[in-house]
Amino acid sequence: MSLAYNDDERMLLEAAQEFLRAESPVSALRGLRDSADADGFSRALWARMAEMGWTGLLVPEVHGGLGFSHMGAGILCEHMGRTLCASPFFATAVLGVTVLNHAASAAQKAALLPRVAAGECILALALEESARHDPLAITTRVTATADGFVLEGEKRFVLDAHVADTLIVVARTSGAAGEAHGISLFLVDAGAPGVVVERNAMVDSRNAATVTFQAVRLSPEALLGPLDGGFAPLERALDVARSCTAAELLGVATEAFERTLDYLRQRKQFGKIIGEFQGLQHRAATLFCELELARSAVLGALRVADRPDADLAAAASLAKARATDTATLAVNEAVQMHGGIGMTDDFEIGFFMKRAAALRMLMGDAYYHTNRYATLAGY
């Protein structure tokens, strides 16, 4: 399978680039932040994404989506990273939809996916319970009752929870923290009694929340996928989402790098363009190489994600770790090479640094994925 884009993917890329630059530049994120927007994203923009089919990009055609490749989802994420586009795209159309694709029953798919594709249903995955990513350390408890289940627990870093219509909750139905068996997935209405969502203000001005479940009653139909066997579909969905997060990091890093190159080509000191200084040239060239490798790792993972039978774990960890480290380097170099102006809030480069930090933590940082990569390889 080729790592170069095919024609459909190239068309999507061009459309995304044009749309996002025009409709969702970095100034839009600044506007949402400065106006303390209650939603943290633009509903009008979201509606246009739905019109273009983006919300249903990964939704199969039978359920009203485009059934596009994961490479396509990565392309959108990358370009959203370039303009720092704020929307529930990732939480809903990538993470949420992928969990549903892998875990939902036919009835659940038929009920939810068309609404998601139409932009009428925002999803959020309630997974994390501590500050470090650990999808096995689940203690949020679901117990069976006579007429269904009861859910009890607290989740953190739940992206887009405060605007979500439906939450997908990762809970434990048996076993102990650290075990894969006993993890189950549940669909929970965001407005159900006992669900308390507290929006957190984050460094990147984007949406995340702490969600508490206080004796939330669930019907038997709330169970998503097999009882006690939710981890396998969850892990596949996480690996798809990690690959797409890596794509967004790549976009953040590439944009920060290109803006820095522009600056190196125009800023003058000591009577010279600063890009003439070899000390800076070599740092820029090194970063270029790192970006090229990160891009290959990201495209490699997205291609593997498009093969349902292929094991995605190592490729996704490679992409997430590589993109995280490269983006961290890129935003640090960007601020440094801009000098004082890079430190100001008026200037946009800092927004990239902040977004890179949030994405770095999302679904496992580079340490997590390096450790996982080694473990998968048997050492």
Partner: protein
Amino acid sequence: MDPLDSFRLDTRDWLEQNCPDAMRFAPSGDVMTDADVCWGGRNCVFSCDEQRVWLMRMAERGWTAPTWPREYGGGGLDRAQAKVLAEELQRIRAHNPLDSFGISMLGPALLKYGTHEQKAQFLPPIVRGEIRWCQGYSEPNAGSDLAGLQTRAEDMGDHFLVNGQKVWTSYADKADWIFCLVRTDFAAPKHQGISFVLFDMQSPGVSTHPTRLISGASPFCETFFDNVRVPKTQLVGELNRGWDIAKYLLTHEREMISRLFGVTGAGQVAPADIAVRRIGLEHGKLAEPGLRGDIARLEMDAAAFGLTLERLRDEARAGVGTGAASSMLKYYGTELNKRRQELLVSIHGSDALGWEGAAFEDGLVARSWLRSKGNSIEGGTSEVQLNVIAKRILGLPG
């Protein structure tokens, strides 16, 4: 069936029947040694008869130079077919039938700049491994600043008279012919007075002195030219326009070096496997946690590098490549190999220090580690690659 799939099946079949068992690395733990490398040439000594047979069979099909035109002895394959052939060779862990500067460096330059007569004369013997080439670029005062070279070639009517000195000429003492940069115009700006010539190392006036490396081996030489006669038919391209050829050839050299050192091929063992064997696991993890992290990062970077080689090939095939990637690959691949060798030293502990004797495989670890230091110097230093990236790819001034 898709023609590419049937090509794959035919290739697999042919390789199965024609690649001798002794020319395949065992699936695990079989480490490549010097005896596995075949350089060809007039004075070639095959390490075994299978090595000779393997080269002969591959050369007959032109598969030592798969993408060269059939007319000049090559395989005439397109890029997609060549990729399939490489994958099938990798699948059976076949030895490279021929290592050759003629194939990796001179050939592409001749195909682009040579006359039909030159191609017909020089390319087929390269494909068959009959003539071994060396590279006469560097001089004592022209290293990174290669265009400052001073070896002179005087116009004597029907031939040039070459005088001067080259250094670091890899395998000059074993090579049959040399491709050589000479100055043919001393008045012109330095890039515009250089010509690209070919000559026989047995020509009167050529002498070589091997130089020993820190690794103990003596793969390269000082090479002296004292009134060497070079027929004008052996000038490649136009007089005084050799710099373009020199640079074009360098892009191929850089890609060759990056492939050679950047990826773990058949006959090389991954550091992680050696570490597991030598250091062992504790609770399923390598017992030295810091080293484990460094190995994992190296393996990940190597995987990303391998994907980059693949992506650039795919993009070139789709016609969307940047084409300026050889400096990036050269820089990253060689720095990666230096890291790999440093890690191998750590993994072997004090055993890495052994220099001679069977107990230490004649110092293989130490010697490979020392040799790797030259990777970021040969073919243009890492600093020079970064200069090229900054100026040519990133468009930075100066």
